[in-house]
Amino acid sequence: MSADISTGAPPRPAAAPVTVPKSRPRKGRWGVHIFLTAVSLAFLAPLLLAVYASLRPYEDTAQHGYFSWPHHLSFDYYRRAYTESGMGKYFANTLLIAVPAVLVTLFLASFVAFAVSRLKLRGGLVLLIFFTAGNLLPQQVIVTPLYVLFNKIPLPWWMSDSLMMYDSYWAVILVNIGFQLGFCVFVLASFMRTLPQEIMEAAIVDGAGVWTRFWHVTLPLCRPALAALGTLEFTWIYNDFLWALIFISNPDKLPITSSLNNLRGQFFTDYNLLAAGSILVALPTILVFLLLQRHFIAGLTLGSTKG
């Protein structure tokens, strides 16, 4: 099997990937275009509708429905969504969780991947299975014991104002790291396997120790993979909902995905406000995707296109 792993950019559909049969008429092409355009629009529509709704005052949509011409358009809901739900604070909370989690995960995972794929350790395969399988378990399988465990671990005041692992960022960061390690090890190991072995041999001849071979020789070659994974992991941890829901009880500490609930009134929910909130929450991930699309897609496909 070809060990084809796209690095930075997914390979462009090589100059002439398929020799299109000459007999194929234009009509087929048009059909494909119409179909793909329709699907694309259908996929975009919910987001566009959410944006549209968020720009209109409640009275307007209440009277005419969401699917009607606007009478007023304003960004007022965005201002309100931002201030009323205290989104700035929750956004900071999310960064506080996601940034260390992503960095530590990538660091640890790349070392494990390095050891497994480049050092020819005995038991490397077992190690790989150990991590990969762990990542595939449904979160709910491990949630209960972790909840109990974190309630039993005391932390000093300067680490957690709840004096416990429970209801602290440490819990969420740690769980994210532990849970995401498997995926990153899997992807990075299959990436590192494609690096030329000669480089390692040259390093060994030069007398480089394990650390040098890892940090100075292998890691710099993994930049594309690390960028891709970093982008992907950041979005995943940013979007995470369950861990914080279970391990955090103080509402001030919740990450941004949970802050949307603050926009729901007790008796009445202004869905236009909620739409504006949803867009705001989704905006960073959408921006990351649009700006770093290549990395993002490469991250997803790194692990899958190997033989």
Partner: protein, 303 residues
Amino acid sequence: MALTSRRAGRRRLRRFTRRDLVVLGVLLGIPVLLDLVIVWGPTLASIGLSFTSWDGLGDIHWVGTDNYKNLFTNYPPFWPAVRHNVLWLLFLGLIATPFGLLLAVLIDRGVRFSRFYQSTIYLPVVLSLAVVGFIAQLILGTDQGVVNTILGHRENPIDWLGDADLNIWMMMIAASWRHTGYVMILYLAGLKSVDPALKEAAAIDGANARQTFFRVVFPTLRPVNVIVGVITVIEALRAFDIVYAVNKGRNGLELLSVLITDNIIGEASRIGFGSAIAVVLLIVSLGFIVTFLVQELRGARDR
């Protein structure tokens, strides 16, 4: 993963220095420990706790298989939740995943604007499922929801999300909105790595486009198929955020994941009972995980 096979014998003599061993010990030790504490320990603990009765505070009582008996016979939401999870799996597996494959195949033919199609169809994947849940409410809501407006049901709206027979379907469609793009990207990458010579050879042999795809291209996509299969199963078993964002997983939206969560952070925390549900989920997913790993191992050995 040529750790045992290739040149292992010759290499073994090259010992690590003491510093190397320290580096290895620390940097392998930490992640292994972390994975043990965060993933594998709790998995085993879940199995153990499922045979006990515990509220999280007082004493733990060993109750044998009582939790399981209760679960199967005496817990009304259980079977609906199982049914919903299975339905979810079938829906993703039979509709969303093939649809993603179809889109990938169409885009891979190198039509113009393929970059645009690819991006828009992939876009929903970056949204959090919680946001997807809120958007679903906006579109399917009763009072001014878009769908009801289009259908002209403003006076007498269909309660897409409230009707216990309908809402699970709406949730599955919303989940597929994300799943399709994911599957499409994976297959696109796989299709790009298929050797064009294969297709040419098939064309020369007189195979039409459909035959070429099903008989020649699709079989070579096996590694991607395995990954997509696992992802589909895991997504179906993990489904949680989206229903939780809509109505906390009640009234027709029961899922195993929701029941587990309810039993831990609900009013009465029934840790033993929640664990029993978790074990059911574990057993189902293990079947698929093992299949996946066997495939991986086989691939690793070939390499």
